[in-house]
Amino acid sequence: MQKITRDLLVEKAVSLLENGTVDMVLGWKKGEFDYDITPAVFANAESLKDFVFDDFCGANFSKYLIANTKKTASKVLVFLKPCDTYSFNQLLTEHRFDREKVYAVSIPCDGMVDIHKIRAVSGEGIAKIECGEKITVSTIYDETVNIEKADVLAERCVNCKSKKHVAYDELLGEDGEVLESARFDEVEKLESMTADERFEFWQGELSRCIRCNACRDVCPACTCEKCVFDNPASPVENKAAANSFEEKMFHIIRAFHVAGRCTDCGECSRVCPQHIPLHLLNRKFIKDIDNFYGEYQAGEEVGTRAPLVNYTTEDLEPGEAVEGR
């Protein structure tokens, strides 16, 4: 199998820029720290020297295509991991960008790591991280810690749902399969708790929300021109939560708005500075949709009718929903 390396991707990007196929590249670059990788736009071959590809490149670029296809007359090159391709298709279904303006190169992915899990092992003061099968962390205290990559994979990668690319113009490396994942185990665990325990759990999680809107801003399904929570004309506009229900309202409504459209890419949980397991809200809807209306994977194909804009005359009654799952 062809190993996907930084140099391979840069080489691809340079050749596509040079032969005029694209005039802009969406990629990753280093932020303040080694583990702080941020999305970036590269406008020419020269700028690609800052291009990074390692185990911290979790960012899903599909949403960035909305803004960036508007800026170009030609094409944008985007690198898509398997999970990103689902968001890519979902956005196409919703007419959010012009497919003609995108050159999609799909790349296999063997999982991205979670810096919080690394930090839990290495402790604070990380100075340098070297990625690979083994991750080497050097701290400012001149300590070196070796960690197995498998031990610090992000939650969404541990429970990876698919290594298959559902969209691309060109595929680097080999395509994978849709996986049997244990991603609903956590949801089931919550479901089996008592109502009081569940309330305690979510009260604990959601009350930490600081309404920074990072989950919303990164979410490829949250692509409203103006969010209903930001709109002064809407009756629910608010900037910050003043008490424990406000953020429940925000997160329930947000999850409901993306229900049936969420591909479970896991970006919301990745970016949450408060480490709220937001994916557990989305997965609850996904699990219910699968159980109630038949298996549905958002973004698997372009143009499918999402479960909430569809119905059958035989659907279960809301009163049966809690028992029916």
């Binding site: 508007k70 279904t93 919703e94 007419h95 959010r96 949250c222 692509t223 409203c224 021109e225 103006k226 969010c227 209903v228 709109n231 004309a233 809407s234 009756p235 629910v236 708005h257 993306v258 009718r305 999402a306 909430l308 804009v309 569809n310």
Partner: protein, 664 residues
């Protein structure tokens, strides 16, 4: 800020008996926006209405809350009152303190308390009301009928009779449809041609009717009263206006081996053909798949023999654009394919036929000139087995057949059986059935005559297998009433194939944004109360495109659809419902969710230019609601995450204001 007047009605003692009306009007005086509050014995009386009109003038009211009976009773009354006072009628809200308060609560304290809360909710809503004006759209006074079978013919004739121009679009070279292929019609046994062809002639001669035969609808735009339709007139290589239908070309055409679809391919026709003698329009059509001249330029006989000079090998498809006020769908049905029913050996033996083929075999204009002969050896059959429900009522084998009852088969099979016994008393006739369903005027009498007077053997049970052996067809069947297995050596087996909507219906439904059920039958706007209207305004349903029907039912529905069309076309303008959805294009991101849930196809998208803060111009896809088509259900508003889509008269803010007022 609104200036709201509150009017609390006593309704005699109906309200005042359980609600302290004085307390209600006092309490509501203090609500935001309220500048006047009063109560009166009968607000709906002339005196009550005058009181409202005077208060509007005296206090410069901009909104009105009436606490009274249900809005279903008097909302319209008070809206008229508001209009009389110079207010927009939609600045009125009703608090239902009779049906939903005084009549269901017994205690004065409880009733008064609740009436105040309901009043507060209405005040909160009126504070956010805006004047609404119903849009008006003109009506194009011309109707389109898609499909020229008996349904389309009847609808077109009725509309034309009322004085409106009608166009019929028919895919076949002639109108007439399935009925033209039938022999006799149940339960009166008149000959189909004798009652149909005069109607076809009426259509041809009616100056209000145009026939686009050998044509199809390729595009539909617009909405009720204003449809823009493109019709493709396929090239028939014969100039319709000149052709006299003399038939010389048909006679002389050397290519005579083309399967004749009118006779269900049981005989042949020529490459240039007129489907049947009474075809309308009676003009020839060249089949480009079989004409040597068109295929390789070697022939030209028809052109030489045509005295009128009507043959035109260079004719091209023609696209006609026309405006219509209403569209009637009459696309009809077809028997389902028998390919999946191998157990009946349809594809193995020529002597296993469908009921429609049987019609042609017994029709005097059919391939056997009306003599009942086996297709294989043209011998007279002595034993005939009819199998009912082939592909109908097929719950278990849904992918093979249809779950529904095709409705017409019981009766036509009784007809076939009876006519066979009548003409050929030496023939034994067996009918295998699940149930015999004969509701309809004179239907059961007809069926009983077949059994009692004509000696048809009706056997409850299904045929399991048919297989050819020698020149016989071995039929294995069960007799459920006698609990026996039967083996019959038959000469002919007739399958009552289920019927399904014509294949053209599905793409047409998409063009019309009309909804269909899972079987591809068009859905009606209401199954009981609006059976001939599609939920899409301005689209009407005629005949079997809506569900299986016999001829009498088809004709009644066709006339009903015509009546609905006429009542639409007599209007000069259509007044809309102002409580419709509308999209804020600044917030819409064009995701299409609203379009997908709209049952009326009222939402379309357009690319619109927006000036961005950085002075660039961005093009964005945004939703547009056609207020003439929207019926105001509000389904779209909930799938719109940003709230760009909102419903006038029931806006998000208004409903939440009511919620807040109630929960306060």
């Amino acid at each position: 800020m609104q200036r709201i007047g509150v009017f609390v009605c006593w309704c005699g003692s109906n309200i005042a008996g359980t609600v302290d009306v004085q307390a209600v009007s006092e309490a509501l005086k203090n609500e935001p926006g309220v500048v006047f509050s009063a109560n009166y014995q009968y607000m709906c009386s002339q005196a009550g209405q005058n009181m409202i009109i005077e208060a509007v003038k005296e206090h410069n009211l901009t909104g009105i809350v009436v606490c009274s009976c249900s809005p279903r009773m008097h909302e319209a009354t008070f809206r008229k009152t508001a209009a009389a006072a110079g207010l927009n009628p939609y600045m009125v809200e009703i608090a239902n303190i009779r049906e939903q308060c005084s009549w269901v609560h017994k205690d004065m304290l409880t009733g008064t308390e609740k009436a105040i809360i309901l009043g507060k909710a209405a005040v909160a809503k009126v504070n956010l009301n805006t004047p609404l004006v119903a849009g008006e759209t003109p009506v194009t006074k011309r109707a389109l009928v898609i499909g020229g079978g008996i349904a389309g013919i009847q609808t077109a004739l009725d509309i034309a009779e009322a004085g409106f121009p009608v166009d019929i679009v028919e895919t076949k070279p002639t109108i007439g449809g399935k009925m033209a292929q039938l022999d006799k019609t149940f339960p009166t046994l008149d000959c189909a041609a004798c009652i149909l062809t005069p109607k076809m002639v009426d259509v041809a001669q009616n100056e209000n009717i145009r026939i686009f035969s050998y044509s199809e609808v390729t595009e539909v735009k617009g909405f009720v009263g204003n449809f823009d339709v493109t019709v493709k007139k396929k090239a028939r290589y014969v100039n319709e206006d000149i052709c006299t239908g003399c038939g010389a070309c048909v006679e002389k055409c050397p290519m005579k081996k083309v399967p004749n679809e009118f006779n269900l391919n049981m005989d042949n026709r020529s490459a240039i053909y007129i489907p049947f003698a009474q075809a309308v329009p009676k003009v020839a059509t060249i089949d480009p798949n079989h004409c040597n001249m068109l295929k390789n330029g070697r022939c030209g006989v028809c052109s030489k023999v045509c005295a009128a000079g009507a043959i035109d090998y260079k004719q091209k498809d023609e696209y006609i654009q026309e405006k219509y006020g209403a569209i009637v769908v009459a696309t009809g049905f077809n028997p389902i394919s028998m390919d999946k029913f191998d157990e009946y050996a349809y594809n193995q033996s020529k002597d296993v036929i469908t009921s429609l083929e049987f019609e042609r075999l017994t029709n005097a204009a059919g391939p056997t000139a009306g003599k009942l002969l086996r297709p294989s050896d043209l011998k007279h059959p002595h034993t005939i087995v009819f199998v009912q429900c082939v592909g109908s009522r097929c719950a278990a084998c849904a992918e093979k057949g249809k779950e529904y009852c095709s409705k017409i088969c019981c009766m036509y099979t009784a007809k076939h059986a009876m006519l066979t016994r009548d003409k050929y008393p030496d023939t034994e006739v067996y009918v295998f059935y699940i149930d015999v369903r004969t509701p309809g005027k004179s239907f059961d009498e007809f069926y009983r005559r077949a059994v009692e007077e004509y000696g048809v053997h009706y056997i409850k049970g299904m045929v399991g297998k048919v297989f050819p052996e020698g020149d016989k067809l071995k039929v294995q069947a069960s007799d459920l009433l006698n609990n026996k297995q039967l083996h019959i050596d038959a000469d002919l087996v007739v399958l009552a194939a289920a019927i399904e909507p014509d294949k053209s219906a599905r793409p047409l439904a998409t063009m019309l944004t009309a909804s269909m059920d899972t079987n591809d039958f068009f859905t009606e706007a209401h199954p009981k109360l609006r059976p001939v209207e599609s939920p899409t305004a301005g689209v009407f349903l005629s005949g079997t495109c809506q569900g299986p029907k016999d001829i009498p039912e088809t004709v009644s529905q066709a006339s009903a659809a015509a009546a609905k069309v006429i009542s639409l076309l007599v209007k000069d303008k259509l007044k809309g419902n102002p409580c419709v959805a509308s999209s804020d294009e600044l917030m819409c991101n064009g995701c299409s969710s609203c379009e997908r849930v709209c049952p009326y196809g009222a939402i379309t998208y357009e690319d619109k230019e927006f000036r961005m803060p950085d002075r660039t111009v961005a093009i964005r896809r945004v939703a547009k609601v056609n207020p003439a088509v929207c019926q105001g259900c509000g389904c779209c508003t909930v799938v719109c995450p940003s709230g760009a889509m909102d419903l006038r008269g029931f806006a998000n803010r208004q409903i939440i204001a009511e919620v807040d007022a109630i929960c306060k």
